[in-house]
């Protein structure tokens, strides 16, 4: 009997349009850069806001920011890979059509 499993890999549907994938990757990467810039440029302001929010909220907000940045970067890399594959597939299709 096959036992149920939660560890089966669910493949992300591959986007065919490489232009959309590229735009998504760039937007996600830019968002992370903006977050980084803000955290560096407004360090004192952020610290003050965190102190006002209280310890638990500081912890939660910090973890949320860190996870968002990590998730966005993972998303950006995934979409960049899709874009490269899509671009290659488009080039192959074009080459076949030319022949």
């Amino acid at each position: 009997m096959r036992l149920p499993t939660i560890s089966r890999v669910k493949q992300r549907p591959r986007k065919r349009n490489w232009v959309v994938s590229t735009v998504e990757a760039v937007v996600a990467a830019v968002l992370v850069c903006v977050m980084t810039w803000y955290a560096l440029a407004r360090t004192e302001q952020l610290d003050k806001q965190m102190a006002e929010a209280g310890a638990t909220w500081t912890g939660l907000i910090t973890v949320a920011i860190v996870l968002s940045a990590g998730g966005l970067l993972a998303f950006a890399f995934g979409r960049a890979e899709d874009a490269v594959r899509g671009r290659r597939a488009a080039a192959d299709t074009q080459a076949e059509a030319d022949e």
Partner: protein
């Protein structure tokens, strides 16, 4: 330059470059890299508590990137990772309380205790790993081409993992992704034991969890990489939350380093598809063996009455240098794998470690 504390500024490019190095090892060998990162941040001038908090924040984000990447590559057993992580988190609490008891005796006693335990753990893991990968490499070198193809992933079947898999303590869980069946209690207890050590030593515990998954549970090496990271993600995420509550996280530094680590992790994780599981074990063994020296020097410094300043300085220098050993090994192995894949010639001794062709993402 970013100001960490009054009169302490660090170059952002240096931080990003260090992050890339740590990410490369994290993605390739499936470790969070905390045991390399925290000493470096301290050497760079970060106050110890900020170094620990910032390293934890970085590791939380980086392990998430690595987990998602390994999930795509199919190197992830979420069921086993979750059970082990639950044990690790419970064990970490015990480890932290144990450390508090040690601190109650005296600060030096706690430091010597932690460093000695770290040195002992690293030495045991390093020696057993080097012995195993050495014998596996010799067996693989002796095989002909067909044998190599058949043993594309020469996986470990130690007496310990055969014994543990044979123990019938209910619930006996089938881990489909890992292609093995073992009692859930054994996985949970192993996680708890690792958690006690990681809580006591103040590390993520990847360098212990990875070998435990391979040599005690019997998980395939590449699958252990992703599964190990699931445990690390949950553990360091919780620790990051606790440190952030105390205001020990420098968010800007963590995010700058994350940009570097994310790139390194992608390269490292993708590189595992060009190589056999044995190559990953070699890198992990080298990395752990290189990490033994710094705590050993620090213990020597404590034992000599904390008077020999040159010993302390050497320990700090070695802590920084130890990151370059595994990074250099990973870069060299990946460069040769890339060359091999492109049809170029590579040294005969490393050829058995190369996968015949890059593994496609499994689904």
């Amino acid at each position: 330059m970013v100001e960490i504390a009054p009169e302490i500024a660090v170059n952002l490019y240096l931080l990003a470059a260090l992050g890339t190095g740590v990410g490369l090892i994290a993605g390739f060998a499936g470790v969070s890299g905390g045991y390399l990162l925290t000493p470096i941040l301290i050497v760079l001038g970060f106050p110890a508590e900020i170094a620990v908090g910032t390293a934890l924040a970085l590791m939380t984000a980086n392990t998430l990137v690595a987990v998602l990447r390994h999930r795509e590559l199919g190197h992830l057993d979420l069921k086993m990772g979750t059970i082990m992580a639950a044990g690790t988190m419970a064990g970490a609490e015990v480890g932290v309380r144990l450390l508090e008891r040690f601190r109650g005796v005296s600060e030096t006693f706690a430091d010597v205790g932690v460093l000695s335990a770290m040195m002992l753990t690293l030495s045991v893991v390093a020696v057993s790993m080097v012995r195993e990968v050495w014998s596996s490499s010799e067996r693989l070198t002796g095989m002909d081409t067909e044998g190599e193809a058949a043993a594309d992933d020469l996986e470990v079947q130690t007496a310990a993992c055969r014994f543990l898999q044979g123990l019938c303590i209910l619930p006996h869980i089938r881990f489909t992704k890992s292609k093995l069946r073992i009692s859930g209690w054994i996985v949970l207890l192993l996680g708890t034991a690792i958690g006690v050590l990681s809580g006591f030593l103040g590390v993520g515990g990847c360098f212990m969890r990875g070998p435990a998954l391979i040599y005690l549970v019997g998980q395939p090496s590449l699958m252990a990489v992703g599964t190990n990271l699931v445990g690390a993600f949950m553990g360091v995420g919780f620790s990051c939350f606790r440190h952030a509550m105390l205001g020990h996280v420098h968010l800007g530094v963590a995010l700058v380093m994350l940009l570097g680590t994310a790139i390194g992790t992608q390269i490292g994780a993708s590189g595992t598809s060009w190589l056999k599981g044995l190559a990953v074990r070699w890198v992990l063994a080298t990395s752990v063996a290189a990490a033994v020296l710094a705590p050993a020097l620090k213990v020597a410094w404590f034992v000599t009455g904390s008077r020999l300043d040159w010993l302390d300085a050497t320990a700090r220098a070695v802590a920084v240098a130890q990151i370059f050993v595994p990074v250099a090994v990973v870069v060299a192995v990946l460069a040769m794998a890339f060359r091999h894949y492109r049809g170029g010639t590579v040294p005969a001794w490393i050829r058995p470690l190369m996968a015949g062709r890059p593994r496609a993402a499994t689904g």
